[in-house]
Amino acid sequence: MALISHAYDCDVRIKMGSASMEISLSKGEIELLMRLYKKGGRSNLEELGIDKSKAAAWAELLRERGLIEVLEKRDEFLVLTQRGLKHLEEGLPEEKLIRILESKGGKANLNELKGSMENGELNVAIGEGRRKGVIQLEKSNGRVTLTLIRKEVPEREILEKIAKGYVRPEEIDKEAFTGLKRRGLVDVGEKTFIELSLTERGWAAARGEVKIVEEIGKLTRDLILSGEWRKRKLKVYNVKAMPPVVYPGKPHPYVQFLEEVREILIGMGFMEVKSPIVEAEFWNFDILFQAQDHPAREVHDSYQVAFPSTGADLSNYIELVERVKRTHEDGWNTGSRGWGYSWSFDIARRLILRSQTTAASARTLAAGLEVPSKIFAIDKVFRPETPDKTHAVEFHQCEGVVLAEDMNVRHLMGFLAEFAKQLGFKEVKFKPAYFPFTEPSVEAYVKHDQLGWIEIAGSGLFRPEMLIPMGYDYPKVQALAWGIGIGRLAMIKLDLDDIRELHSQNLDYLRKAPLRR
């Protein structure tokens, strides 16, 4: 904090040089000085009854004038944990037990108590209750009877005290503190206090031995209208002092990056399309000529939907479904051999969570697009991966398709190179790849100053087995397509090393993260 960490050239404006008989202070500074004086010349900043941020600023100015000393002190105090707060609200387990026993006339046997509280809580309640002499346990004939002895537990008062304000650990009973800590109800927090104390000169000023001339600090409407501002001295501000911190409202850095990508694609003539999160396997896989026994369709690579438990309604696409089925089985009239297996409608209508944004392209293409068209999608996809630094349970993909006559693999690479250039990468190279729904298939790599060559996109020309059943005039009409794990790219651009930080739960990080330029 600026208040103590900065060593300023003190801007002391003492009238009448040697004797220092007069000093100019603002109204606020005078108020703080006098309050401190009334507190015996020493106080915590927060205990002065002045708004903390104002008090801090005034204290700094008084310090610069040599009137007070400012000291940062650390102190331990107790805080309630989440569980502590819950028990404060709902009652401690032993308190619940007291209430239940009260309602049963102060006595009950263990069996009838079961079910009145959660099992774990009941055990805690009995254990704690016995330890504190709140209840007594008697065992006879295999039956355990509980008798209520006391109706109060000392912890209640302590919890309430802690909830109200700063309580130092040594201020409460040591045994009770250990017990609460063991039960995870309280924790020791640390607080930084700012302690102010008057210097010799400060004492003199407060006692009136040095004359205080009131300066005008903040101008007000009254001061301006009354003309008072002309008569009095306007305080000279230390422009080097730090102002209070404010956080503006702003976009999430990742959203800002995704918006940039959107702008680039829109600028290149692409129209944005969407598809549902809960998707039929038909749109996510079958129409893409991904065989029904393809490993990507297995449980470890895509999320199957358990509820709703009915399959998708594909009755609007009967002809398309039939063409897709035949294409898988024997190639239909696509010129392909097909995959040579018996295609199942029941698998195609199973519901999954969208595992690739190609589903959005497929839906849009199947609905009938004009030639030429360019489309893109930026949306979440879902895959059952254990979250770690490089895997998230859900992540964004960015998908683009160029549907036009006479496209070829050189145009595909041309679009990828242009897109990479727009994203700020100068060098690009390509490698052959394999994806079930594109041929030829190409991976694009870009050169990063620190990281070297990094893969940014999987791409290719959509296969005839995909385009022909949708009604496109292959090979005259071709569709160039690419998909980008845009989150990985965002990590590079935002300088993150953990993909989970794209969904950061840390408000301070978001508040302090500068906007991308």
């Binding site: 409202g249 549902p276 939907v305 594909l314 519901l351 360019k374 254990t386 390509f430």
Partner: protein, 554 residues
């Protein structure tokens, strides 16, 4: 993508010449095999999933020979046809229906490395193409211990006795399934009510293997072995045939002579394996040029195909007959031939450029356009944007934030309970966000614009996405009117006609909660959060919130 490690010495011995790391790397740069590591003793390659022929060291050597033009065109291996029969019984059809097999003689497997690499390739195929042996499993046998012909049969597990590979004593099939490591790992694949186990038997009735579990000790491979019998069984005839071709071609690269066998299925179907002839595909030269985007000559195209170890015959100036060896399963359509030409020519040698005359108009999706307007206003109101996951848990969505439970989309195969359903509201995520940041300076004004998923029987996929805006405002002192004034600022600036109507909904305080209505229907909810919910979350300051359905306004 499969990764394979091979002995460096063995690799260059098979290749017949040494290459430096740079030479090998640049040769493979533009292919579907990547050189991942060039170490003291070993090489590591990564191959794409459509090229399982490259999980064998011999397959990679064969490819490299083509690239350096040491050997080009269709590999030709000496072949004898229909040496003996493999009879398939009816009984095995319900247990594990398909088998293919071959004999390869005179194979050079003199080094220990060569045997190891063969077994590693086998395991790699089991893991990938074989779907952990369920779809495909391979048995490799010392043919000198086998007396043909062969029968593929199934028998009750108690009636089968043999010494499994790696054991000393004979065991019953049941004991093998229950007591050995491999048995326990793979028994589920062949579980059937009659407790039958599939068996490869020779003419003496000796068990050669019990696929897909284990081979017999009888036919164990030992260094120096020359003649091999190979069986491949499984549930998918195409996949097992392809596998057999890969293994047989690899052994033939080591000087082996192949004998095809005749598989006789119970319905009388006869199948010769491996295929004695390559398959053929006729492609138009113009089609290849169209896909690749350059006007390569027919001779150049044919040369590139041969470098890729395919056969190419000129039928006319416009037509090429491509001969495809059995170990290449990635040719379904002439477009696959076009890709082969592009790869062989080198993608980075083709050059690239943007097409002319593909004039289209770019446009943001209306949902994103609308989201963007709301985002601008929320930022103007001083709110920080956050992003939360769509996947979450019921506990997170309901109980933990005091909401009443309602049906949500659930997945059948969650990785963990924490990510097992899709959110139906943005509010829980925002409240948890506040709970995670109680140490941070107040006021805290945060918002999220994102999708929730609502169960909807009328929708094609029984659930629909809904774009929403959620906002929470937490401070030492904050109240309903603070949230309402912000909501009002949104509605005034976007010309929405909204009216509030009191309602009761958890986790809002009773009497401080309202539905947001508009002529387009109900748009959302606004209110103050119940302090008991806040305390449970560890939040000790009041919180107001609203959630708006944006999609209704598109």
């Amino acid at each position: 993508m499969p990764v394979i490690r091979v002995s460096k010495e063995e690799f260059f011995r098979l290749l017949g010449k040494e290459l430096s790391e740079e030479e090998l790397k640049s040769l493979l740069e533009d292919t579907k095999v990547n050189l991942e590591a060039f170490e003291e003793d070993e090489l590591e390659f990564e191959v794409t999933a459509d090229r399982m022929d490259l999980v064998t060291i011999e397959g990679i050597v064969r490819t490299v020979k083509g690239l350096i033009e040491e050997e080009i065109g269709l590999p030709e291996y000496p072949l004898d046809r229909k040496e003996f029969k493999v009879r398939v019984t009816k009984a095995v059809a319900e247990v594990r229906p398909y088998v293919v097999a071959a004999v390869v003689r005179g194979v050079d497997l003199r080094t220990e490395d060569s045997l190891i690499s063969l077994i590693e390739a086998q395991e790699k195929i089991h893991e990938t193409l074989g779907r952990k042996r369920k779809r495909v499993s391979i048995g490799l046998h010392d043919f000198s211990k086998v007396v043909p012909p062969i029968t593929y049969d199934a028998k009750p597990s108690d009636e089968v006795v043999f010494t499994p590979l790696g054991e000393i004593m004979e065991m019953t099939a049941r004991e093998i399934l229950e007591q050995t490591e491999k048995g326990r790992e793979y028994a589920h694949i062949i579980r059937n009510p009659k407790e039958l186990v599939p068996l490869i038997l020779d003419s003496r009735g000796e068990v050669l293997s019990m696929p897909p579990i284990i081979n017999s000790e009888l036919t164990r491979l030992t260094p120096g072995i020359r003649d091999l019998f190979i069986d491949v069984t499984g549930t998918d005839l195409r996949a097992i045939s392809y596998t057999l071709e890969i293994i047989v071609a690899a052994l033939a690269e080591r000087g082996g002579r192949i004998s095809t066998l005749e598989i006789e299925y119970p319905d009388g179907t006869l199948l010769e394996t491996p295929r004695p002839e390559p398959s053929e595909m006729v492609v138009e030269v113009d089609f290849v040029r169209r896909m690749v985007g350059t006007s390569l000559s027919i001779d150049e195209i044919m040369h590139q195909l041969e470098r890729s170890r395919l056969g190419a015959q000129k039928l006319s100036e416009g037509l090429i007959k491509v001969l495809i060896p059995g170990f290449r399963a990635d040719f379904l359509h002439p477009v696959d031939v076009a890709e082969e030409v592009a790869i062989s020519y080198g993608l980075n040698n083709l050059g690239y450029g943007l097409p002319e005359n593909v004039m289209t108009v770019g446009r943001r999706h209306p949902r994103e356009a609308l989201s963007s307007l709301f985002r601008t206003l929320m930022i103007g109101l001083g709110y920080q944007e956050v992003l939360n996951y769509i996947m979450t848990s019921k506990e997170f969505l309901f109980n933990s934030v005091g909401r009443d439970e309602r049906p949500v989309v659930e997945v059948a195969n969650p990785i963990s309970e924490s990510y097992s359903v899709l959110r139906d509201s943005l509010l829980p995520g925002l409240l948890h966000f506040l709970a995670a940041n109680t140490h941070s300076q107040y006021p805290q004004k945060i918002f999220e614009i994102g999708d929730v998923v609502i169960i909807d029987e009328n929708y094609e996929t029984k659930a629909r996405d809904e774009r929403r805006l959620g906002a929470v405002y937490a401070d030492y002192s904050v109240g309903f009117e603070d949230a309402y004034s912000h909501l009002k600022a949104l509605s005034d600036n976007l010309s929405l006609d909204i009216k509030l109507e009191e309602c009761e909904e958890r986790p809002f305080i009773s009497g401080r909660c309202a539905k947001i209505n508009s002529p387009k229907g109900e748009l959302g909810i606004i209110g103050e959060i119940d302090p008991s919910v806040l305390l449970r979350l560890g939040i000790t300051v009041p919180v107001v919130a609203f959630e708006l359905k944006l999609q209704a306004l598109e």
